[in-house]
């Protein structure tokens, strides 16, 4: 209920202006293009690095949305009002998390088809596994992003401090997500195992992502109360 209200509030504010979504989605497309120019016109080579490029683009554009989700409320003192309401502060975190997750996933919905065109990657056959990896990876990313932005957004150096705190923490997630995505995109995610069956090779990287998601979701949920109080 409380969570839903906060999700609704944040997404409505975003929907009414669309300023943030448009600029972040446009920036993401731009980064994707820039990587293409930086890495050269060789289609084969570009396809091989597409997984890494895709995730870096998600990270660099997505990081801009987290501070924003607190800034608006800080500017007009609404966060203090929000904190005055009785009840569990965790619902503020959950609400913001879901709103940010929706936001970043929507950006990705623009980004992934564009990447498929620019980098010539066939995504139709692997849409299911790709969506799963994107969702789980983005969940971990947004969890920590929402958590660290609760602090960074209230400091002067917020633009620098958030990536400084967030990106080192995301390295294992980045490695696992890029490996899983690359395996899916290259099409050989199945390997034969000793028993004669086949297992999902990207599954072991998926497991790293899931562990990351769970550890930091629980950690952030409990630490958030201490972070948000005034």
């Amino acid at each position: 209920m409380r969570v839903g209200a906060i999700v609704w509030k944040d997404l409505t504010a975003e929907r009414r202006t669309k300023a943030n979504f448009n600029s972040v989605a446009f920036l993401a497309a731009l980064i994707l293009l820039l990587f293409g120019f930086a890495l050269g016109p060789d289609t084969e080579a570009l396809r091989n690095v597409a997984g890494g490029v895709l995730w870096l683009t998600v990270l660099f554009s997505g990081v801009l949305s987290f501070n924003r989700s607190y800034e608006q409320e800080l500017e007009n003192g609404a966060l203090e009002m929000l904190l005055l309401y009785p009840g569990d502060r965790r619902s503020i975190f959950l609400g913001k998390l879901i709103a940010n997750l929706t936001f970043v996933l929507l950006v990705e919905a623009v980004l992934v088809p564009l990447a498929a065109i620019l980098y010539d990657i066939p995504i139709w056959g692997v849409l299911g596994p790709l969506a799963l990896v994107l969702f789980l990876g983005t969940f971990g990313f947004v969890t920590l992003g929402t958590f660290y932005a609760a602090m960074a957004s209230r400091l002067r150096a917020r633009e620098v401090l958030l990536p400084l705190l967030l990106f080192p923490m995301l390295i294992p997630l980045l490695i696992a997500a890029v490996q899983a995505t690359s395996l899916i995109l290259s099409g050989d995610m199945m390997v034969g195992d000793a028993a004669g069956g086949s297992t999902l090779l990207s599954g072991s990287w998926l497991r790293v992502i899931v562990v990351f998601d769970i550890v930091f979701f629980v950690g952030a949920l409990y630490a958030f109360e201490h972070v948000i109080e005034d």
């Binding site: 400084l164 705190l165 923490m169 390295i171 990287w205 790293v208 550890v215 952030a220 630490a223």
Partner: protein, 241 residues
């Protein structure tokens, strides 16, 4: 020292053991280094290069112990809300990042003649580099946060999250690629090297404890100074620092 940040602190006395312990730790380190260097014969493969072991491996251990201290002190702070735990966490992070940096530099110096490269994406090397970044972020947050109470709560949260990440970072980088030689522990090497390494492990531990205690004492002094200044400002005095 069971005060919260809102109370005005009395000027802290330097712990009586601090100076003697510092002298002892320094002398012990010098003696351990000398003993280890003199006792050990040149390694069959590595020659005198092996001797970096006596600073590199102890530094690497301290790079794990210091983050663990940050973690424990951070948990204690969020639980008990006593300023001393926050100051211990900060001291351990400041000293820890020095040891993490030392470990990276010594590793590079060793890797160049051994592997022929300054840097490689090996699990332990990469994990150490990531640790360095995580605690650099921790210290940056401390530097930017102005309100004492807020800084203490926030950095405790960051200190806890950072430490939770260490095993995940290590495992993921290990699966990603691996060429580092098996960790050096006293069991993987010849008896002549064992004693030297053990001695230096303790020497580094004493130095670590001494430096953290020193930073902690300095933090208490700084805090007392701030409190005195605030008190004077409120009383309308002109401030002479």
């Amino acid at each position: 020292m069971d005060t919260s940040y809102s109370d005005i602190a009395a000027v802290p006395q330097r712990p009586r053991w601090l100076l003697p312990f510092g002298i002892f730790a320094t002398l012990f380190l010098i003696a351990s280094q000398a003993a280890a260097l003199l006792m050990s014969a040149p390694d069959r493969d590595m020659g005198h290069l092996q001797k970096i072991l006596y600073v590199h491996v102890p530094s690497a251990w301290m790079s794990m112990i210091a983050p663990a201290i940050v973690f424990v002190a951070s948990v204690l702070y969020l639980w008990k809300r006593q300023a001393k735990h926050d100051m211990v966490a900060a001291a351990a992070a400041q000293v820890g990042i020095v040891f993490i940096g030392l470990t990276l530099i010594q590793g590079s110096i060793w890797a160049r003649p051994t592997w022929g490269i300054w840097w490689t994406w090996d699990p332990r090397l990469t994990t150490t580099a990531i640790l360095f970044l995580i605690y650099a972020g921790y210290l940056a947050l401390r530097a930017f946060a102005e309100d004492e109470d807020q800084r203490a709560r926030w950095s405790a949260a960051v200190g806890i999250m950072g430490f939770l990440n260490v095993p995940i970072v290590y495992m993921s980088v290990r699966w990603w690629r691996t060429i580092h030689q098996v960790q050096s522990t006293p069991d993987t090497m010849d008896a002549t090297y064992k004693l030297g390494l053990r001695l230096n492990a303790f020497a580094f531990l004493f130095i670590l404890i001494f430096l953290i205690a020193l930073r902690y004492y300095i933090a208490r002094l700084e805090r007392a100074r701030t409190a005195v200044l605030e008190e004077r400002t409120l009383a309308g005095d002109k401030i002479h620092v």
